[in-house]
Structures are given as C-alpha cells and as structure tokens.
C-alpha cells in the first residue's frame, strides 16, 4: 500500500470578522480528518453553507483573511515528495500549482481574465507546463476543449461572450489540460445541461485514469457523486459526519443526516417533491452544542446535546460521527 496522496489531520479553519464592532467567528471547518488515495476520486457533499468550499480552499492553500487555519495539517504527497501546505513556503506552493495541484473554484470566474481572449489565459497558465511548439500547443488545447463539447472558436472569445456553462467548461479545461496529479474541483458542473455534464464527467474520469491522478470533487448533487466518486465524505455544519465507499453510503447510509439526504433524492417523474429537512441550517457563527445536527435529528438523545460525537470507524472503510450509528462512541 502506497502513501495517500493527501492527508488532512485535525483541520480547523474559522472566519474571524468584525462588522461595525461586532466580532464574529464562523466555525466553517472543525476538526476534520480524512485521506485521499492515489488514483482516487473523493467526493464531498453537504447542504448549502456547511463549509464545503471553505474546506476545499483550506486544502488548496487558497486561504485569505478573514479565513484562518487554527489547527491541523494538510499534507500532499506528489510521487514521494511530501508537501505540508501550512509549513511550506510560498515559493514551494507556487511551484506545485497547475502542474501538480489544480483548483477549480466555485463560480469559476476568477481564472479568466475578463479583458483578454480565452486563448491568452491558456497561454499564461499552461504553455510553459505543456512545453511544446505553439502549433502543437494549440492542437493539444483544441483537442482538450473538444472533449468538453467546446468548439475551437471559444479561444478567440472574451469571457463575457461565452455562456455561463461555456465559461465553466473553459475553467475546467484550464485546470485539467496540464494533467495535474491532484485536482480539486468545487461545484464545477452546476451550470451544465445533463448531456454536456456527462461529457465533462467522462473527461475528468479519463484524465484521472490516464495519469492516475487524485481528485476531490465537491458538489451538492448526489447523483454526480454516485456516478463519479469512489468514496464520499458527508459534511454537516463544518464537520465531516460520515465517510465510506460511495455505493455503500448510498445503499446503507449510517448518519441520520445522510439518511435524509439519500431518501430525499429527486427523480424526474416526482409530481410531488420529496420533503425537505425540517428546520434551518445552523449558523456556523453560533453552532448548536454537542452534535451539531441534534436540533434537526429525528433520533436525537440527551447525550447528543452536550457531547460531540467523535468520528469513529464502524466497519472497514466506513466512518461515522453519531451516537446512534456508533453506540460504542457514547461517553
């Protein structure tokens, strides 16, 4: 067994802000531990504002104030070379971007320069990594775009001349054309129709397979996870609450929150929608005590209100943080 491609240990990252003299601390990532294997696609799911993007930014070394890493470590392993993101210097981090590690941000606009043609963005980010003649470089890029159902003409366009879904695909193309060893993607297919989405997922899978890269794929869309990810981590209110092989998590969800997610999956033909979860998502500035899910949990017990359930292994490859699913973890 080789070393994991990524180890996240005890990671805690909060936003510390002050508006009009009111101090706020948003506990967006709290004590998260997980690993991603070489050649593995790891999915992260969870409701809006549970901290998915924050976790990903922290892993991708893309944090900016007011986000602060308070504890824990993020260690990548690029073919035997360990890079500890919060110990490494800026130089070292810059050196791994694009070629080794690429990050597709939610909204994906940040990478495209609005006043330059798309072609120039490719030249800026990818030319020196691909290292071929200009003609050959263009051919590589055009072939890559084709896999994302994009015509070569998009290279001549300015970002605002493209549709939302076309821009999203250009961002994916930029992040994958150099075939990095580790790809981190935050909601990269939200703006795509289902046919194009299928093509994009197939491309991602192909790139991953061809070079054996590792991927973290964040989306709230569980159907995408079911079709792409080997393993799935479920987040709730800043914490990881369940993890396991995707098919097992779907077949037999352990955490009450995951059970709700899986049973509420919409399908075409539903004339009536599945029921939403009762109650609002908790505020991460003032999260519930104990198990953060307890105010909405149908099986909550007294112990859940005052104690934080630890993430424990309950079966090979399966972890869960819940006093009902893992009774042995009760205090």
């Amino acid at each position: 067994m080789t070393a994991p491609a990524l180890s996240v240990t005890g990671l805690r990252a909060y936003y510390r802000t002050s508006h009009f003299g009111v101090e706020r601390e948003v506990k967006a990532v709290d004590d998260i531990d997980f690993q991603v294997g070489v050649n593995e696609i790891y999915g992260i799911a969870g409701e809006s504002s549970c901290g998915k993007s924050t976790l990903i930014k922290t892993i991708a070394a893309a944090i900016r104030p007011p986000l602060k890493v308070l504890a824990g470590s993020v260690v990548f392993n690029f073919g035997g070379r360990a890079v500890d993101v919060y110990r490494a210097g800026e130089r070292e981090i810059d050196g791994i971007r694009w070629r080794h590690l690429s990050y597709i941000m939610q909204g994906s606009m940040n990478v495209l320069n609005p006043v330059r043609r798309v072609r120039n963005s490719f030249v800026d980010f990818a030319f020196r990594h691909i290292g071929r003649s200009t003609a050959e470089f263009t051919r590589v890029v055009v072939d890559h775009l084709k896999r994302l159902h994009l015509e070569p003409e998009v290279l001549d366009a300015y970002p605002h001349q493209l549709s939302g879904g076309m821009r999203q695909r250009v961002a994916i193309a930029l992040a994958t054309v150099c075939r990095p060893e580790f790809i981190i993607a935050d909601e990269p297919t939200t703006a795509l129709d289902v046919i194009v989405q299928k093509g994009v997922l197939a491309m991602i899978r192909d790139v991953q397979r061809e070079i054996g890269s590792s991927l973290i794929f964040v989306t709230h869309d569980l159907a995408v996870h079911a079709n792409l990810c080997h393993r799935l981590g479920i987040m709730y209110a800043g914490r990881l609450v369940e993890e396991g092989p995707t098919s097992e998590v779907f077949r037999q969800p352990l955490h009450p929150y995951t059970q709700h997610l899986v049973s509420s999956l919409p399908r075409i033909g539903d004339a009536e929608p599945k029921k939403g979860l009762e109650g609002a998502p908790p505020s991460l500035a003032d999260p519930p005590s104990g198990c953060r899910f307890h105010p909405r949990c149908p099986v909550a017990m007294d112990v859940c209100r005052g104690n934080v359930p630890p993430m424990v292994t309950v079966a090979p490859g399966r972890r869960v943080a819940c006093f009902v699913a893992a009774p042995e973890s009760r205090p």
């Binding site: 289902v194 989405q197 929608p273």
Partner: protein, 276 residues
C-alpha cells in the same frame, strides 16, 4: 390594458465573434416565439443545451439586450420603445431578474444587503422605515435573514447563500414577472425544494408569472406549467411540461432525458491504487 403579459414574437439575436482572422457570426437566439397571459399566471420553463441561447433570450425579455430580429411586448408595449427613467423604472418594477451565477452578478466591492435596500427604495419605492423589514421578509422566504447577511460582502457568503440573496432581492418589488436564470443551480436538493415551492406559491398566491431557466429536469417536472426545449438558438420542442418530459418527441429532448444521471450510479470507476 392588454390581456397578454409578455409576447415574444419571432425573436432572434446574432452576435459577431472571433479574432482577426476568423470572424464569424453566432446565432444565439433564432426565431423564438411564445406568449404568457395576464389572467393565467404560470411557470414557463426553458431547458436546453449549454450555449443554446437561454440567457440571451432572458436578457432580451429583461430589455438588457435588444433583439436583432422580431419584437418583445410587455403588456402590449414594445420593449424597444421604452425610453426615459420613469418608463424604465416602471418596467423594472414589473419584471425582475434573477441572474445566472451569483458570483458574477454581485459587485464584489459592494455589501450584499445594499442591493436589497436599493431595490426596496428605488424599485419598490418603499418609505425608509419599511426598507429593512421588506429585505428581512424577502430573505426569510429563502431561508436566510437580514441578521445573517448584514454588512457582508459577496465573497463572504457561500454559493447557495448568495444565490438565495439574489432570489430574495427579486421578490421585494412584488413583480408581475420574474425571469429566473438557473436560480437553484448551487442549492442542495433539500433547500431547492423549499425554493421551488416558493416559486409555486408566488404563482398561486400572488399571481406572479415566472420564466424559469434550469438544467434540473426533476424540479422542472414538478413546478412547470409549460416548457420549451432549446438547442442552438432554436426551440426544438414545446408544450405542456409533464407531457413533454414524460414523452419527449424531438431526438434532442429524448437524449437530454436519457442523460439525467441516476443516483443509483452506473459508472465505470477505476480501481484505486492506494486507500486511505
């Protein structure tokens, strides 16, 4: 007063694109027609390929982009004849947008609550004393509150939070027509249900009409009255939403329905070399 709320008549939009050597024209929207009646509020859904002209059509209906062919009339008035601040404001009060990709729609340097206050003051014309209350009520409709977002900049909110702020903003003036361009793309299934239920309530209780652009066939099936399916600027199929989605006729619509990912996951995942 005309009985037609909005009429889109043979509308087209062509763009010139390209570099120095390869100029070409994109037919973003190609003779699209439909009408919505005032007396029959409905959710009119537009589904289609990425790049098929949905946003361009929406921007034309919002009078932000002029058609190169055809005309759009709102309550009988051709949008191209709307001139002057007064007339524009009146149109904005009646027709409100929710833009695709909230990360682009909001100015990063402007606090998001300002957008809500501005809309309440300028578009809805509310007196100062009612501005905050109106913003809070609209936010509560989408599972947020003014206390939660007050003073925050767009990048300080999650994708789904920002998208819900955009929806809340559009509700403030109680428009007759909302043009919602992928309003739930960044929202999880559970919240999505409450947002689409909200759209339904707006139709049933407030008599609002909604043009709903989406890639999500499941919610489209659940809330739409009528649907059009677009590809390469043209409408390839249209009709009663459930009829079209149950039995699509055009090859593109059939392919679209077939491509919906099943949560049961029929993928060809690779073997993992190392496991955590």
């Amino acid at each position: 007063m005309s009985a037609t709320l909005i009429e889109v008549a043979e509308v087209g939009r062509t763009y010139a694109m390209g570099g120095l050597f390869s100029r070409h024209r994109v037919r973003a929207v190609d003779s699209v027609s439909f009408a919505m009646e005032t007396a029959r509020p409905e959710i009119f859904t537009i589904i289609g390929e990425s790049g098929s002209g949905k946003t361009t059509l929406a921007r034309m209906i919002l009078n932000m982009v002029a058609p190169t062919e055809g005309a759009i009339r709102f309550r009988g008035t051709d949008l191209s004849t709307i001139r002057g601040a007064e007339a524009r404001l009146k149109f904005m009060r009646a027709v409100q947008p929710i833009f695709q990709n909230p990360f682009e729609a909001f100015n990063p340097l402007k606090r998001v609550d300002r957008y809500l206050f501005m809309t309440a003051r300028r578009v809805a014309g509310l007196p100062e004393g009612e501005v905050e209350g109106a913003a809070d009520t609209a936010l509560r409709n989408v599972g947020l509150s003014l206390a939660e977002i007050r003073g925050r900049f767009p990048h300080e909110l999650s994708g789904g939070q920002l998208q819900r702020v955009a929806i809340a903003r559009a509700l403030i003036p109680s428009p007759a027509l909302i043009v919602a361009d992928e309003p739930v793309s960044m929202i999880d299934a559970s919240l999505r249900i409450s947002v689409v239920n909200l759209l339904r309530r707006l139709r049933d209780e407030m008599g609002m009409s909604i043009i709903y652009i989406t890639h999500d066939l499941a919610t489209a099936y659940y809330i739409s009255d009528r649907i059009i399916i677009m590809r390469k600027g043209q409408v390839v199929e249209s009709g009663d939403a459930r009829t079209v989605l149950d039995r699509p006729q055009h090859p593109y619509s059939i392919a679209l329905k077939a491509a919906v990912l099943s949560p049961d996951g029929t993928n060809e995942k690779t073997e993992v070399t190392s496991h955590a």
